[in-house]
């Protein structure tokens, strides 16, 4: 229809490029770009350094795209470059991390995502309802603030102190597995396990299978993956919190494209999560886990 | 008599430096051939082309009458050339006996598998070193704890022990004491008598005269001349070694040869 034919958007994430979860986001933007007929580029700091990410946002602004979609992993670091981009007239949508308030503060159009602390808190409340009184948080990315927020939110939701219940698990599956085993061995009265993504969930499933606690101990996890879905199916995992990264990537592209073309904009932020995925209704999740789920 | 090695018109360039500008020398079995010359004349470079460390830029090497190309010291060792380099080939952290047998490890078969025969190695090492006049504390002493002269002796003993047809010694006596020097010269003499061709580099005219059968002087990368024993006096030889330039004279007693 001739409106805004050559639209270009850039999505900037904070994830190191080996982080498997972000793959769904890449697939989401690719699909949205194709469907909307726009170009979407994906960029991220290779080592996950947020200061590098700030430079990438500056770089993105210098490239003069029609819009930027970015995470707000650390408000202090990223607010400057994002505001600068907004100030020069680039439309910005915040996705994944940060809060709706922060998004408003930097002048973004909207926020699409799942506030991490809130998601952890909701999960904690749910677990408290199920009678959980103590837990183990398997943090495979200890230096990232959002990981810690999830654990903290969960503890607060349970109404207990986080204390020593969060372990720095590292990224190696064997080490994660054996650290979980070691912790549970030393603290056999632990009621629940919380993992923060496939990286920590997959080895934890194996650990629980090995020490016989699979299905016995309360097990919740953030984010989905093939093994997590299988775990939910066979009852090892009670629930997975799906923040639907696909939507976090897909929707902003659609919103921006329509905004640029027709000036239409939803009136509110979009919470893509937390959605609790349980054993009921798993087929679609199963089919697309790791790709679109 | 057939020469065992013929070096024909050897040239060697290092980048913009011409270290050898065409050197032709023949080496005969049973003879001790002394290579003499000023510092930087190219002696070490020359014998390194013989032992496969450097590939000559131009020129030909004939070994036992056949053209030969050594790509690696391994090849020359396999052909029967043993070399004692000026920059020593010893591993300081390894024991004397491991160093002695480096590259020639004795093998003992156990259940069909080939193992390093440490007992044999230790025994031979101690014996050979004693023959050279060095009493080791033990075969497992690290080479790094030996004095410079002691290391030199290990290198020479090793080359003599494994040397087959040609033995090249690059300034072997320079770091040695009087007694060790006498031993090395006696060894050279003995080896030569066994029909082995010895190439001997030295700056000491007297050492050269003592064991040499033939003398070749290098000067600035070229052959300055070759002489047989008896054809030349120590004083003449010394003048040639200094490249024909005048020597600084001492008022004192340093008459004659240095």
């Amino acid at each position: 229809d001739g409106h805004g034919d050559n639209l270009t958007y850039i999505l900037v994430s904070h994830a190191p490029d080996s982080d498997s979860w972000w793959n769904t986001v890449k697939n989401g933007v690719a699909l949205a770009g194709e469907q909307m007929g726009v170009t979407v580029e994906y960029r991220n700091p290779p080592t996950g350094d947020l200061a590098d990410m700030a430079r990438i946002i500056e770089q993105a602004a210098a490239a003069q795209p029609d819009g930027i979609i970015t995470t707000l992993a650390d408000f202090d670091v990223l607010s400057g470059p994002i505001r600068a981009a907004v100030d020069q007239g680039i439309d910005v949508i915040i996705m994944n991390s940060g809060t709706p308030d922060q998004a408003r503060e930097v002048g973004a159009l909207m926020y699409v995502g799942q506030p991490e602390y809130d998601a952890g808190f909701a999960a904690g409340q749910r677990a408290a309802g199920d009678g959980v009184g103590s837990f183990l948080c398997v943090n495979h990315y200890i230096s990232s603030p959002s990981s810690t927020e999830r654990c903290q939110g969960f503890a607060d939701g349970l109404g207990i102190d986080l204390g020593n219940q969060m372990i720095d698990a590292g990224q190696d599956p064997a080490e994660i597995k054996n650290r979980v085993l070691a912790y549970l061995n030393t603290n056999p009265d632990t009621d629940a396990v919380l993992t923060l993504g496939p990286t920590s969930a997959d080895p934890t499933i194996l650990a629980l299978q090995e020490n016989g606690m699979a299905g016995d101990i309360y097990f919740g996890t953030f984010d989905l993956g093939e093994n997590i879905v299988a775990g939910i199916k066979d009852g090892t995992i009670q629930w997975g919190i799906d923040q639907q990264p696909f939507l976090q990537a897909y929707l902003p592209v659609v919103v921006l494209a329509n905004y640029d073309r027709y000036g239409v904009l939803p009136g509110n932020n979009i919470n893509s999560g937390p959605g609790f995925v349980t054993a009921s209704g798993l087929e679609k999740v199963e089919e697309f886990a790791g790709e679109f789920r | 008599m057939e020469p065992i090695i013929q070096m024909k018109g050897i040239e060697k360039h290092f980048g913009s430096v011409i270290a050898l500008a065409g050197v032709t020398v023949d080496f005969y079995p049973g003879e001790c051939h002394c290579l003499l010359g000023d510092n930087g004349a190219g002696k070490s470079t020359f014998i390194k082309t013989m032992s496969g460390v450097h590939k000559p830029t131009h020129g030909e090497i004939m070994f036992e009458g056949k053209p030969m190309q050594f790509d690696d010291p391994r090849d020359s060792i396999a052909a029967g050339i043993a070399t004692v380099y000026q920059d020593l080939a010893m591993i300081p952290l390894m024991s004397v006996s491991r160093n002695f047998f480096m590259g020639n490890e004795p093998i003992k078969k156990i259940a069909g598998l080939r193992f390093f025969d440490h007992e044999h190695a230790n025994e031979v090492t101690m014996r050979e070193m004693r023959n050279m006049g060095i009493n080791l504390r033990g075969p497992d002493q690290a080479v790094g704890t030996l004095s410079g002269g002691e290391r030199q002796t290990v290198a020479i003993a090793r080359a003599v022990h494994f040397g087959a047809k040609v033995l090249i010694l690059d300034e072997p006596t320079s770091a040695l004491g009087v007694r060790q020097t006498a031993n090395v010269l006696a060894t050279v003499d003995k080896v030569r008598k066994q029909g082995i061709s010895v190439v001997f580099i030295t700056h000491n005219v007297r050492h050269a005269m003592a064991v040499g059968d033939r003398f070749t002087v290098l000067n600035r990368g070229k052959t300055y001349g070759t002489a047989m024993k008896g054809e030349i006096s120590p004083e003449e030889l010394q003048d040639m070694m200094a490249g024909g330039q005048e020597l600084a004279t001492l008022e004192g007693s340093l008459g004659g040869t240095v």
């Binding site: 080996s18 299905g215 | 033990g138």
Partner: protein, 370 residues
């Protein structure tokens, strides 16, 4: 022989015991004793020393051992390999691509992966020996290149960075159990039935023995350590490894095929990394683009704690194995002892420092280094 050494009046007496004690492995042994004493005192009732606990830190240590053996021999040969971690990720991913995405029989996938990875190791070695560049730089480049491919390939062909389903694909394969299986299951069952070893008291495995077999990972670790130790100390090739690392030029002069030795050691390191990777994907059933991150440092640390000299020419496989054991025990022990886990890095750094200082002292005693 002894009489010769005793004739030198310039050597002070050294007792036989002291002489027997002073070995490259001594530092590692002291470390092991220290570490175990520490945890026996502070974490005895934490379950660290019951069957399950022992299996726990043994497995972690075995993992370190597998890569430490390769790193140790390579380091003694005078080089090191920073691409081990990336190689682990890459190897796992290749198995997933061949075995799951392309659906080839698992044994073919495994063998081809071994071939590719060993070829990469050979390439590392070839570049190092031909250009004379420090291996730090060359393998740093390979680190980036391999990791880049490990992320890029699965993303391009499958649009994901974790590929699962490997366990299913390996079912019924003849080669896969050699990496992912467990041995001795019946024995443990029998032991458990007779009450010789404890059984689970909770959960859905209640009544079964806490250990259901020894993972092949541990068998591989032991086999590689023995193999490496014998090659290094008892063979001609072992002498060449020492020589190549002690002084490459000198070794070359003496007729040691230094380049070949170094290239072979790079290949062996790649082999060990691949063994690690295959065991891992077989156990966990998936390959991820972020597997093996920083493993190269862990291998180097274990080797150095075990008494090897970073600059080559000195070290011991047994020492490296002890280093790996220390590393594994400390890492898991801190969890058993309930120490704040972010302090693990601080501990690791301190232990590393203490270990190398001790080892340097011992090495000076042995070699009489100047």
């Amino acid at each position: 022989m002894t009489d010769t050494s005793s004739t030198d009046e310039r050597v002070k007496e050294m007792s036989g015991l002291r002489r027997a004690m002073i070995r490259p492995e001594l530092g590692g042994m002291v470390g092991v004793v220290a570490v175990f004493t520490f945890f026996l005192l502070f974490a005895f009732d934490s379950g660290m020393f019951n069957m399950q606990g022992v299996m726990n830190w043994t497995t972690v240590s075995a993992q370190f051992m597998i890569i430490a053996v390769g790193a140790c021999l390579l380091m003694i040969a005078g080089e090191f390999d920073l691409s081990v971690g990336s190689m682990i990720g890459f190897a796992g991913m290749m198995i997933a691509i061949f075995g799951v995405v392309l659906g080839w029989p698992m044994w073919i996938a495994i063998l081809i992966t071994f071939a590719i990875c060993i070829a990469f190791g050979a390439l590392n070695g070839y570049i190092v020996v031909k250009t004379g560049l420090p291996s730090f730089i060359v393998t740093l480049a390979t680190l980036f290149i391999l990791r880049g491919f490990t992320i890029f390939i699965p993303q391009t062909v499958e649009s994901k960075t974790i590929i699962g389903g490997i366990r299913e694909a390996a079912e019924g394969d003849w080669l896969a159990p050699l990496f992912g299986g467990k041995v001795g299951g019946p024995i443990f069952q029998w032991l458990g039935d007779n009450g010789w070893i404890s059984t689970f008291t909770r959960g859905n495995l209640e009544g079964q023995p806490v250990i259901d077999g020894i993972p092949m990972l541990i068998i591989w670790a032991i086999a590689l350590v023995i193999f490496g130790h014998i090659v290094l100390t008892r063979t001609r090739f072992g002498n060449w490894i020492f020589a190549a690392g002690g002084d490459a030029q000198a070794a070359r002069y003496a007729g040691v095929p230094v380049d070949a030795v170094k290239i072979k050691m790079f290949m062996f390191t790649a082999f060990c990394a691949t063994v690690f990777a295959v065991c891992q994907v077989m156990e966990f059933g998936s390959a991820g683009a972020d597997r093996g991150l920083l493993k190269e440092f862990e291998a180097i640390i274990a080797v150095v704690i075990g008494g090897a000299l970073l600059t080559g020419g000195y070290g011991s496989v047994i020492g490296a194995a002890l280093g790996a054991l220390i590393f594994g025990v400390v890492q898991q022990g801190l969890f058993f002892a309930n120490v704040e886990s972010s302090l693990f890095r601080v501990f690791l750094g301190v232990i590393l420092l203490l270990a190398v200082i001790l080892n340097t002292y011992i090495r000076r005693l042995i070699t009489g280094e100047r």
